[in-house]
């Protein structure tokens, strides 16, 4: 005889399901819990844990008319946090600084791009401009940053690069 207890048990079995039910958003309660756990794990895998990164700061000056490898990382991942440059004013010439950034093998700056310089060819009333590059910019395997003091007959440039590694 199929009574109320059997109907109730059948309903509970169907709704709660078994521990072995595959994760599903439309299945039993066990399946739904499995689905939530899978989603939580997926979201957690996409959250960047900044507190576990290692920060680095590079200070570097680059001689007039020279190109320097400010940073070249291979087989590593992390974030470029910023690149700033300062161009020293020469007595008789403009100074400017250009940067080239390649991330995971892709040129991101279109070769060397000017990011800092001085406004005059002498010291009278000269100002230094700086547009810099602000991150975070993700690199998954490699990053190369080169700084250049463009004018060989001018002055040097100073650089600050900040980054972190996973």
């Amino acid at each position: 005889m199929f009574g109320l207890n059997e109907a109730l048990m059948s309903f509970i079995r169907r709704q709660v399901g078994l521990r072995t039910d595959a994760a599903s958003s439309a299945g039993s309660l066990h399946a739904k819990v499995g689905n939530i756990a899978a989603n939580v794990a997926n979201v957690a895998s996409k959250v960047y844990v900044w507190k576990e990164t290692k920060p680095y700061i590079i200070f570097q000056s680059v001689s007039a008319g020279s190109t320097a490898t400010l940073l070249n990382i291979t087989s590593g991942s992390g974030f470029l946090l910023g690149v700033e440059a300062y161009a020293d004013q020469d007595d008789d010439n403009y100074t400017s600084a250009s940067v080239s950034i390649t991330i995971d093998g892709t040129d991101k700056t279109g070769g060397f791009a000017i990011i800092a310089g001085t406004s005059r060819a002498d010291r009278t009333g000269a100002v230094s401009y700086n547009i810099g590059i602000a991150g975070p910019l993700r690199f998954n395997s490699s990053i190369r940053i080169q700084g250049r003091s463009n004018n060989v007959s001018a002055s040097y440039t100073c650089w600050v690069v900040t980054y972190c590694l996973d």
């Binding site: 007039a64 320097a68 070249n72 590593g76 060989v152």
Partner: protein
Amino acid sequence: MVELVEVGHEVLKREILDSGTVIDTHYCLRYSISLEAAKTEAAVGESVNISIEVKDWQGNYVADKDSVTIGVRNEQIGNIEEEILIENGIGTFEFVSETPGIFKIRPFEPNYQKNEVVINVT
């Protein structure tokens, strides 16, 4: 592990982390050109001997560079460039000015560490 490696015109400081990540940063330029003037004050028409040394970052003379472009700058005269012959990393030239003023002399060579000498002609 940290080591210094020569790459092109640079010397890089290379750090290899336990994870296998390799970090290269600029250490210094590979070559330098240094000027040294026999005196920094001279009279109009007086000759000043200026020596040139081309060395690598470890202090060895560079034999395979045969000339250096030198720039002389003065407010009244402007910029003058002159190519000076070098032999086994050593060269020399005479500076003479027929007008008074401050003259700044430096190598115009990209990707070399370099210095400037200033001569006051009175």
